[in-house]
């Protein structure tokens, strides 16, 4: 089911519930077990990256209150399958657990496979080195023809509208992001908007509302002359499934309308968590003008 429909159905069911029932919540003490520590890989590369960045961390107890501890001194390599070109990523001296290298967009050829190899990982600290691998397919860029910002007074949001041709014959998966002056404002998983093309396969998407920016509390999120870009990001099915599962796991309705909780389907070998994915971005930039966009 397309993600937007999932959201619609869920919010409808919740509304139905809230409309008819009393419903109360209470913070409770809950003891949770903690599983053995595992490697976590956060490796999303794109055709617009200036640097390829792979973040390695450790899993943490669910109620940990800080960012997960980083994994240092690993060997991280990106390998282009067809040419066997290898790119070694170095650990950042300031951002612990972040491994980077200058981006090589020319290896991100649509339809080709890129491998990630992470070795020299000593998670247990006992000298036993682990190696983890993953592969990702490079998706095709789908050009975004245009974008619009529309202010919705009732919902108090800026609605981002997209205009593009969905390629026929193939199944496409999309993610949408909003970038303000080169800073992604819709960064976290709960802000990620994804859709497959089940509802519009092969059609021209003519100004469909794909993202929202809250305009209620902070009218100054966008100011005059801000460069506001909508990104149409072509993603692979496995990355779509990964985000879709995250949305199910962190949504308000879980687990009542989503079934039993389950692990999000990553692609890293050796029981590691996280995902390695390549995305193909196309964007359209708008110069924000409050006289036009705040009405």
């Amino acid at each position: 089911m397309p993600s937007n429909l999932f959201h619609m159905v869920r919010s409808l069911l919740l509304l139905l519930l809230l409309g008819g029932m009393t419903r109360c919540t209470e913070i409770i003490e809950l003891d949770l077990n903690t599983d053995t520590e595992r490697l976590v890989v956060d490796a999303i590369l794109s055709n617009q990256d200036r640097f390829f960045v792979v973040k390695l961390s450790r899993s943490a107890p669910y109620f940990a209150t800080e960012a997960a501890p980083p994994v240092n001194h690993a060997h991280v390599e990106i390998i282009h399958e067809r040419t066997n070109q290898r790119l070694t990523l170095e650990e950042d001296s300031l951002l612990s657990g972040h491994y980077y290298a200058e981006a090589r967009p020319e290896i991100l050829v649509p339809g080709e496979t890129i491998h990630l190899k992470i070795s020299h990982v000593d998670l247990k600290g006992n000298g036993t080195m682990e190696t983890h691998r993953a592969s990702a397919l490079v998706p095709e860029v789908v050009p975004l023809d245009s974008a619009q910002i529309r202010y919705n007074g009732i919902r108090e949001t800026w609605q981002m509208l997209a205009f593009f041709q969905d390629p026929p014959e193939v199944e496409n998966f999309y993610q949408f992001k909003v970038v303000q002056n080169d800073y992604t404002v819709t960064r976290r998983p709960d802000d990620m908007r994804i859709s497959n093309d089940q509802l519009f396969n092969g059609n021209y998407v003519n100004g469909v509302w794909v993202h929202s920016i809250d305009a209620s509390n902070n009218q100054s999120q966008f100011s005059d002359d801000d460069r506001v870009a909508l990104q149409l990001i072509s993603i692979t099915e496995s990355y779509y499934d990964f985000i879709y599962a995250i949305h199910q796991e962190i949504s308000t309705g879980a687990p009542l309308f989503t079934g039993p909780p389950a692990n999000v389907p990553g692609n890293i070998s050796g029981h590691a968590l996280g995902i390695f994915a390549i995305t193909a971005i196309s964007e359209f930039e708008i110069i924000f003008d409050s006289e036009i966009h705040n009405q």
Partner: protein, 781 residues
């Protein structure tokens, strides 16, 4: 033609079964309908006993009995809430039509009194896990918002548990809710709930009785592996018009019934509608203010007595839930229509023909521009034909056989846009058509004094019929081939023999021992993997890839009836094993998916348990204590790393205490207390960071439990004093659900403010109801 076929059948089977053709020399076949002496309504399940022999029979679902006796004997007829009646038989005829009219108890006596005779008959039945509830018992118990609900009363019986707090959906012996066959006047009901399942669709005013069979099904029923809930509506008063109604917090209802032709034909009309929507404008939330939210039910029943040998019944039900706000519209509901004809080929052969149509559909629409403007429809339609015969060869002997065919059509989803220029692509998940047939035979007899035995079978045949499509999958459930089937083509079928058997032994006048085995098959399943089923769940049938679910159940038990007939204790042990039990992969896509089958990961299910119930029926105090100790597990090679995991409805301990005390003629107090081990749940064993947010991860499915659940409800019924000349009698019902305000967890979520600190999470339980008082005013006229 039918009479001819029947004769051949009986000729063929009788000598084989009994060694000889029954002689009528000196014997009399006494038969007829047992009815209420005042209203003329038939009384199903009433008992007729030959005095001094312990032999007897009970009336079938249509109030008919047939009993062969030797010459001059006395019959005693009895039924719950009615005075016993003894009738001496003295005739030279070989056949005697004996309609029996029983007088209902006056109000001074408890409404739920059960006579000893009636209980004796129940004890001897070689079926296990069967329980009957009448409308008066259901009405006397306190319920949420004062809305009397037969399905919630069932949940107070051992082995039957609500799927979640306040839900009318239920699990029997750890099975899925879709494994329960809900029949309303023989029509299958596909969604028994209103308002996300908080209320059931069955309006108690129109109901005569509810019988639940926990897996040990009579051969005449099939198609589900966990239980049969057989709900029969009232037939209507044949002698005078009467009415009943009520005004409650949530809904109002009105039932009228009376004769169309006195003592020949009666009509019953019953309606109920909620008015929650009237209060929505008072909400502080603007969104809710502009919403509409209601449901209604309409029941209609007509019957016509054509003569001694023929009766016709027409039942109809229509219910709808509707919800509208600025953004979305949703409605869903069931409709059923059953036309039934009872015919007596002879006093010993009762036949019953039924034609049934049932339907469940939903509509979902969202407003907005472009692609948000969606119309979404789903529809399930059944046509069913059943021809059922009962043959009464001699006292204590009964043969039941028949044939049933159901034609299912499921249109899982059709999405379109009201705007022809929309970007939206029309999606029509192809319809699935199928036929489900059952040929059955069951024989209950007394092989020796104090022994009653039952054996039978159901030969079921399921056929997928074109026009439709089927898939071939590789071993990773990827589609390798899609096959299109032309209209009328039978492209797949399953058949199987479902044997059923049981025996009961009256070991002492007080103790009965029973044992039974049954096999059942299920060919139609619900695509839902959450504990709160939603109106949007779709049904799907078995297919080349989805084999039928098959269950085997063994039970043994004992029943003790005290000397004064006031205490009845039952103890049952069961073991149930199911193959090809339906479960789903992680994060399945169950809506708008034409290859839904690829999401299914079948496995085995096992459940075992001990169910104990002690029921007390005094003059003023009635009630029961029910306790269940059980465990239900599932295992699938694709789920939970192939390790067994608990059913989401597993309750290790489940205890229910139900009581009702009639303080005086006008005042009755009733209450219940429910306790069970918290439902199994999957909780995180850690988390990982991804793109600035945290994501939970898990180890084993259903390895943890929710906090234990308990709750007490209380109600007080105050009847107004009857006054001479007053044409109606009123009654106030005050009830409190969850008397001591236990905050039972409905769900546990993990929350935090991601904008402040994405890493800080807390566990938050959601509970639905604290103390919920309600008041209802009921009238009878």
């Amino acid at each position: 033609m039918i009479r001819y076929l029947l004769k051949i059948f009986l000729l063929l089977t009788s000598p084989f079964l009994y060694g000889q053709i029954p002689s009528t020399n000196g014997s009399v076949v006494v038969s007829g309908y047992i009815t209420d002496a005042i209203s003329g309504e038939i009384l199903p399940g009433a008992t007729v006993i030959i005095q001094g022999t312990g032999k007897g029979t009970s009336t079938n679902a249509y109030g008919y009995y047939s009993l062969t006796i030797d010459g001059e004997q006395t019959l005693t007829a009895a039924f719950v809430g009615y005075s016993e009646k003894s009738i001496p038989i003295n005739t030279n005829e070989a056949e005697l039509r004996l309609p029996i009219q029983l007088d209902p108890h006056t109000q001074e006596l408890s409404e739920v009194e059960i006579s000893a005779l009636d209980r004796n008959e129940q004890r001897k039945t070689p079926l296990m896990g069967i329980k009957k509830l009448d409308a008066a018992t259901i009405k006397s118990l306190p319920v949420l918002f004062g809305e009397t609900d037969p399905l919630k009363t069932l949940q107070l019986l051992p082995g039957i548990a609500a799927t979640s707090e306040g839900a009318s959906g239920f699990s029997v012996r750890g099975g899925n809710p879709d494994q329960n066959l809900l029949l309303l006047d023989e029509a299958i009901v596909y969604n028994g709930g209103h308002l996300l399942g908080f209320f059931s669709i069955f309006n108690n005013d129109a109901i005569k009785e509810v019988t639940v069979y926990k897996g040990d099904l009579p051969a005449s029923a099939g198609g589900r592996i966990a239980s049969l809930v057989d709900i029969r509506t009232r037939d209507g008063n044949l002698t005078q018009w009467q009415g009943a109604g009520g005004i409650g917090l949530i809904s109002s209802r009105l039932t009228l019934d009376g004769p169309l032709i006195e003592n020949k034909s009666a009509l019953l009309i019953s309606g109920r509608r909620t008015y929650v929507d009237l209060f929505l404008p008072l909400s502080s939330d603007e969104n809710i203010q502009q919403s509409q939210l209601y449901f209604y039910d309409l029941n209609l029943k007509a019957n016509y007595i054509l003569g001694d040998n023929d009766r016709i019944f027409l039942s109809a039900y229509h219910g709808l839930d509707a919800f509208y706000n600025d953004d979305a519209r949703m409605d869903f509901g069931n409709s059923t229509l059953s036309l039934r004809w009872n015919h007596l080929f002879s006093p010993k052969i009762f036949s019953h023909l039924s034609l049934v149509h049932s339907q469940y559909n939903y509509y979902l629409g969202s407003t907005g521009d472009e692609i948000e403007n969606i119309d979404w429809r789903s529809n399930l339609t059944d046509y069913s034909l059943k021809y059922d015969f009962t043959y009464y060869p001699k006292a204590g002997d009964q043969v039941n056989f028949g044939l049933q065919s159901i034609f299912h059509t499921i249109q899982p989803a059709h999405i379109s846009s009201p705007d022809p220029a929309s970007t939206l692509q029309e999606i029509k998940v192809p319809s699935a058509r199928s036929l489900e047939h059952g040929l059955y035979y069951g024989h209950t007899f007394q092989p020796a004094p104090r022994w009653t035995a039952r054996y039978g079978f159901r030969l079921s045949l399921f056929q997928n019929v074109g026009k439709g499509q089927s898939f071939r999958f590789d071993d990773r459930f990827n589609i390798t081939d899609t096959l299109q089937h032309r209209r009328g083509e039978i492209y797949n079928q399953y058949f199987g023999l479902e044997p059923r058997a049981g025996i009961s032994w009256l070991a002492t006048p007080h103790i009965t021992l029973k044992s039974s085995y049954s096999q059942t098959r299920q060919y139609i399943h619900l695509a839902s993997n959450s504990t709160s089923s939603t109106p949007l769940d779709v049904w799907f049938t078995s297919s080349p890839n989805i084999r039928p679910q098959i269950a085997h159940q063994f039970s043994v038990g004992a029943n003790y009836l005290s000397t004064n007939n006031q205490w009845q204790h039952t103890l049952e042990l069961y073991y149930k094993k199911s193959r090809q039990a339906i479960d789903f992969k992680d994060h399945p896509n169950l809506l708008l998916n034409e290859a839904l089958e690829a999401e299914i990961r079948p496995g085995n299910a096992r459940s075992k348990g001990l169910e104990w119930m002690s029921q007390y029926t005094g003059n003023r105090i009635t009630g029961w204590i029910a306790y269940t100790l059980s465990r239900s597990e599932r295992q699938s090679q694709w789920i939970n790393n192939a390790r067994p995991y608990l059913s989401p409805y597993d309750h290790l301990h489940d205890l229910t205490i139900v009581g009702s005390y009639q303080i005086n003629d006008r005042l009755t107090i009733a209450g219940n207390w429910v306790y069970f081990t918290g439902n199994p749940v999957t909780l995180p064993v850690g988390r990982f960071d991804f793109q600035g947010g945290v994501v939970p991860f898990y180890s084993e499915r259903n390895a943890e439990r929710m906090p234990d659940y308990h709750r007490m409800d209380l109600s007080l019924t105050w009847r107004e004093t009857p006054k001479p000349g007053k044409k109606w009698q009123g009654e106030w019902n005050f009830s409190v659900y969850n008397l001591y305000g236990r905050k039972n967890a409905w769900t546990i979520n993990f929350v935090g403010d991601d904008d402040l600190d994405a890493y800080y999470k807390e566990a938050e339980k959601t509970y639905l109801f604290s103390v919920v008082p309600s008041i209802t005013y009921n009238i009878k006229f």
